[in-house]
Symmetry: C5
Subunit: 90 residues, 5 copies
């Protein structure tokens, strides 16, 4: 997993039913210190995350399919947690 | 998934039947803001996308095999959605 | 696997039960010579590693699910070993 | 998949039988415009490709295992097609 | 697969039995021309490779599990071949 910040949303037209009713978030990948890395994911939301939230993203198909409870399903990145606290050793 | 823009097509000779009748798209990976990243995929089209369309690409074998309805099949990247709207928080 | 150094911890709110009671470590990826690479993982701890420990991280879903003994489970990176010795040829 | 150019061959000693009688190609990854990217694969040949050919490479284990018709088999990158034509929108 | 050079070894304490009696190699990823790329793997040895050997590394979990003959097993990178000859077209 990596730490990310939700920066926006995407609306798209899909053929696959797994996307029905799902919110697609744009999540910028951050360093542990909170700096942007230049990478991002379009991720399915599993935890009611909103724009500005710091979240944990897992980017693996089998994980994503389990989270949405559909297998098969063409998804890969999912927001699985909302970060409460980050402790970095000084 | 990532956001991409269809920039062209590829015609190739394959041995595997999964590619019969499939359109292969060159898709440039974009940032959420629409800037090129220098990365691309050769992706199977699942949504009748055309050159110039902004699309969503998923790059994972199990997802791709489900989308084309053939398993096994040697494919990995698929265009699964056509982007209608991107909202980035100011 | 890659060599990493545990630099901190993350506390987050999850829906999935696999994370209950698990410690989530921030692990900075190192070169074999011990230099930072700029990459990191948020990894599940399997070996009682603590901040400052040099560890081995495996970043693959099926490996991670085996290590925690839960399948399915939406996890991918796991700390599987604590490094005792690194020998690099001169 | 990505576009590549076959630049050479590798001969190696393996324990696994999947490599018996297989040609291993060095394939440089190209941009769609034909420029080198600095990346390469050592890929199993499935289409009688030769040095200098422009090809399509898929880099995923399950795809590779299907192409060679052996599962399990420790392979990942395979040359699955020979490029006939690349059209990039002006 | 990629070409690598064995540059050292790692000794670590694991909980998982798959690592018992296995040699863990530090393998620097090379270009086909033999230049370092700055990437490396900690890989399980399957071919009695030693420091200084030029080898082929496959970095995929299912391949690795097959090579060691244990599934499940939390491993991903394996040295599967020793390079005898590299021919690059002039």
């Amino acid at each position: 997993m990596h730490i990310g910040k939700v920066s926006g949303t995407v609306v798209a037209t899909f053929k696959d039913k797994v996307f029905e009713g799902k919110k697609l978030l744009i999540v910028d990948r951050l360093t542990p210190e909170g700096e942007p890395t230049g990478h991002y994911w379009i991720a399915v939301d599993d935890v009611q995350a909103g724009v500005g939230d710091t979240v944990l993203v897992i980017d693996e198909g089998n994980s994503a399919r389990q989270v949405v409870g559909m297998d098969p399903a063409p998804i890969r990145a999912v927001v699985v947690g909302i970060v409460d606290e980050i402790d970095i050793a000084a």
